[in-house]
Point group: C2
Chain length 332, copies 2
């Protein structure tokens, strides 16, 4: 019997285990155009928190008592779709479950036969990798020689952004929480690292910009909050900020407080929110470039793996306590 | 004897009369390259508040006990510069004084013989008009059909921005403080007006977007604070925000508090701080377009005039209490 995690009620603030229930799904035969997929890897991502609210976000809210959706990779076990055969490896949005009936709405994509591991399509070669690449190179238009600040640099998107920036000849400051993560960000090539748990971000970022001998040209924001404020304070003229996420505020009703908003004018800063899905035309260029960087070793993805469907909510909640280094994945 | 207003100490928060002193200037003969100008009109502008601080802004701080500078228009009374003759009308930065010795650093520009009144070069045909035009059309790239929100719409820059937007076929919401100013903004052609003194900006802006039957494509920000937050809340996808000023925060040590920062990502908003001086290449196009709009009556500039050099600090302080409709000027 296939099982799926359902949202049972809408959380306020940080969700708990009580907001989720693992339910048996009714068995049924496929309709025309559908495929049945045995999932092998599931993705949990911070943006899913927004889908747990009723209000508008950039994707539709999850339904109550319906299976949640999310990135997943697996193998076709049955097909009534001419484009997919049994045994094909597919990437699709029917996550949060061990077996999924996938129709067009869940956007199945057949994966190439290659030596790229299946789980890479949920990270470096997938949504998180593309988000890092598009945000850094297309939205912020970062170039060789730029000084780049990446927050949540030990996270899924941040750790790839750091490595792309180094591969392209930029100077990088990364922020992460705790000594172990900071050591890893440094090992990824960051020129300076700040530990946001060790003291005020502003003071540490000021010191880091002195260490790299220059203020910030580009900020890749995964956090919002005090990181965004500090980045404004330490910006240089014509700085570009790509706003990818504001995980610091997803569970928090407090407003974003900016003491350095005047720097937006002083330094003519351009701030742009972006979503991966608005840049689909850039995906072929991304795939070629990322494929080469993975092959050369310029980008080395890392995964934090939770075992078994039962652990999916814990893995998701771990995103907000910083439990992951690199990409958080669930292995089935 | 020529007199000039000097800054005597650096204010914290709102300046008072005690921070300024009107002093006699030592008489001296001109050096090569200088002109002597009898000022007729002086400009006071919100950006000057930033120059009263010691810290970095986009222009150098005013010196202590030295004459302040600022936009001024007058007539040449003596010249040791081959490009200027006695009787020429000039625009320059030797403001805050009745007579100025103007060298290259004060950027004198000879004004054309025309029927444009001298004071217009301190407003619609000058810095404030160009700021409105560049911010709206170049930075925010507003186009016919866009729904545009302009804060401080009864102010110098805002009142011109409203009129440009209407002349170019946009729908406009303007905000102003008090019934008299709101009535004027409506008379300028705004489709909806909100009075920020009459209630929360957020509630009123939500109502205004219902009144014009659509959310905001463009926000021209002169205010920051609750206006910026409300504009985020009422934005539509791919909205563009031109950040011209944040007068609400110039005298305020409190941080900018944004409850709707997530909309930057949800709506992929592009926010850009800008300065007139970064867009000098656009000035000929501005002058031609604004000249035509003044002639046709599409743009009707308005001035709030204080009489006499003695009143310059009161005129400046009046900017922060909303004493001006249109451009605040001092007539000598």
């Amino acid at each position: 019997m296939a099982r799926a995690w359902c949202l049972t009620s809408r959380p306020e603030g940080l969700p708990t285990a009580a907001h989720f229930a693992l339910r048996d799904m009714p068995e049924r035969s496929l309709e025309e155009g559908e495929i049945r997929v045995r999932n092998r890897w599931l993705s949990v991502d911070p943006y899913m928190r927004g889908r747990m609210n009723a209000g508008k976000s950039y994707v539709e809210p999850f339904g109550i008592d319906a299976p949640m959706t999310g990135g997943a990779a697996g193998e076709v076990t049955e097909s009534r779709h001419p484009g997919f055969a049994v045994g094909d490896k597919v990437l699709h949005m029917g996550g949060w479950r061990d077996e999924a009936i996938v129709d067009k709405a869940l956007t199945p994509v057949k994966l190439p036969d290659s030596d790229v591991p299946l789980e890479s399509f949920l990270h470096a070669m997938g949504l998180t990798g593309a988000t890092a690449w598009i945000g850094l190179l297309k939205v912020a238009q970062a170039q060789a020689g730029d000084r780049v600040f990446v927050s949540a640099a030990a996270g899924a998107v941040g750790s790839i952004a750091v490595q792309i920036a180094k591969a392209k000849g930029m100077t990088v400051i990364g922020s992460a929480g705790g000594a172990e993560k900071c050591a890893w960000v440094k090992a990824l090539g960051a020129d300076a690292v700040i530990d946001y748990r060790a003291g005020p971000v502003l003071d540490q970022l000021r010191q880091a910009t002195r260490d790299i001998d220059g203020r910030i040209d580009v900020y890749f924001d995964n956090v919002g909050g005090d990181h965004l404020d500090a980045a404004l304070a330490c910006s240089t003229k014509d700085a570009r900020f790509a706003i990818c996420g504001m995980i610091g505020g997803y569970n928090d009703a407090n407003p974003l407080a900016l003491h350095f908003s005047r720097m937006i004018i002083v330094n003519r800063i351009r701030i742009a929110g972006f979503l991966y899905s608005d840049h689909l035309a850039d995906l072929p260029a991304f795939q070629a470039d990322m494929g080469a960087m993975l092959k050369s070793g310029d980008v080395t993805p890392r995964h934090t793996i939770f075992d078994g469907l039962e652990q999916a909510p814990d893995a998701f909640l771990g995103l907000f306590s910083g439990a992951n280094m690199g990409k958080m994945l669930i292995k089935l």
